[in-house]
Amino acid sequence: MSTSKVTSDLLRGNTDTMVLKLLSESDRYGYEIVKLIAERSQGAYELKEATMYSSVRRLEADGDITWYWGDESQGGRRKYFRITDKGRATYARNKSNWEYAKRVLDTLL
């Protein structure tokens, strides 16, 4: 039980970076983000809608992403999220921080 809790906290702590990574590839809407995270992790990490919306709100407040209305017909208008230049810089920094932490942890664990 505690193992899965630790793992899930560790993953959740990197949600913002995961979202930035997905948006660095293409503009996306909410459900696309949670769906792609489930697909790419082969179901190992299921990002909840609440966690995702909390993350995009934070990223938007920090100026890392913006949003615009798409013009899709099915399921009504969709809000698409787009990464900003600041967001790309944040992603690069988070990614290199993670690479560094991973190297350090590998020597310690």
């Binding site: 909410g30 949670v34 609440a50 966690t51 709100r57 009504g76």
Partner: protein, 287 residues
């Protein structure tokens, strides 16, 4: 079946309607859920499974909504204060009669209202933190969207008092019979109810985590869709009490509630059993 997704999300958002940002979050979430439901059906899941998986995919949305709405309500409170309010900080209304008083949007921090008759008064969106309402008559008083933190209500008359959407952190209620009081959508995590009885009280949508209601007499009270993790009803008496919500999270939270030594009527007991609560320590009361 997809109506039930709408119903569920309506229920979660109902107390927060009004704020633009909240309405947007709701629309985004609904669009996502309907798309997920269609995907799950296309994968061959039956209606009930698809619905359960869809609802599960939401996670702790109440927390996210609270973050969004807390911000807009703070802004609202400041605006009201600036235009309508009066500053009575630390004022003395002890023992006065102010029936139907209008205190909305006022700064009343630390004010002494002890033994005052405030019947029918309104304190909407006011700062009433650290105030003293001991022995006051608060019948039909509206105290919504207000800051009541650390205020004291010892021996106050609380009949049809509405404190919904107010902040009640470390607020103290003692020696009171609460009748038809509304606590909808309030944060009661560190509120104290000392030697109080609850009749017709509404705790729907509120955060009651860790609240101690042990030994209390609780009649006709609603705990629907409230967060009840680690609440203690130890030795309490429960009659016609409503525990309703069909989310898995609510059922899981109920399993952490302490009903040891509680006494309850058959209907309340049946409701709890239906939600999978362990009722071995409970005594059934005949009416």
């Amino acid at each position: 079946m997809t109506d039930r997704i709408n119903d569920y999300v309506d229920g979660v958002f109902k107390p927060y309607e009004g704020a633009k940002s909240v309405a947007e979050l709701k629309a985004d979430l609904l669009a996502d859920l309907h798309e997920r439901y269609r995907d799950l059906k296309a994968e061959g899941h039956d209606d009930a499974t698809a619905l359960e998986l869809t609802i599960d995919s939401i996670g702790d949305i109440e927390q996210t909504v609270r973050e969004v709405s807390a911000l807009s309500r703070t802004l609202e409170r400041q605006l009201v204060t600036r235009f309508d309010g009066t500053d009575q900080t630390g004022g003395d209304f002890a023992g006065t009669t102010v029936r139907g008083g209008k205190f909305s949007g006022s700064a009343l921090r630390g004010t002494d209202f002890s033994r005052a008759d405030l019947t029918g008064s309104t304190f909407r969106g006011s700062d009433v933190a650290d105030a003293n309402f001991d022995g006051a008559n608060l019948t039909d008083v509206t105290m919504t969207a207000s800051d009541l933190e650390r205020s004291s209500f010892r021996g106050a008359t609380l009949v049809r008092t509405d404190v919904s959407t107010s902040s009640l952190l470390e607020t103290r209620f003692a020696e009171s019979a609460l009748v038809d009081v509304k606590f909808r959508m309030t944060d009661l995590r560190r509120t104290v109810f000392d030697n109080c009885t609850f009749t017709g009280v509404d705790f729907s949508y509120s955060d009651l985590r860790g609240l101690d209601l042990s030994g209390a007499a609780i009649t006709g009270v609603r705990f629907d869709r409230a967060d009840l993790r680690e609440v203690s009803f130890r030795g309490a008496t429960l009659r016609d009490v409503s525990f309703r919500s069909w989310s898995r999270k609510y059922r899981n939270a109920l399993r952490t509630v302490d009903f040891d030594g509680a006494r309850m009527d058959k209907l309340t007991l049946a409701g709890l059993k239906g939600l999978g609560v362990d009722v071995t320590g409970v005594t059934v009361m005949e009416r």
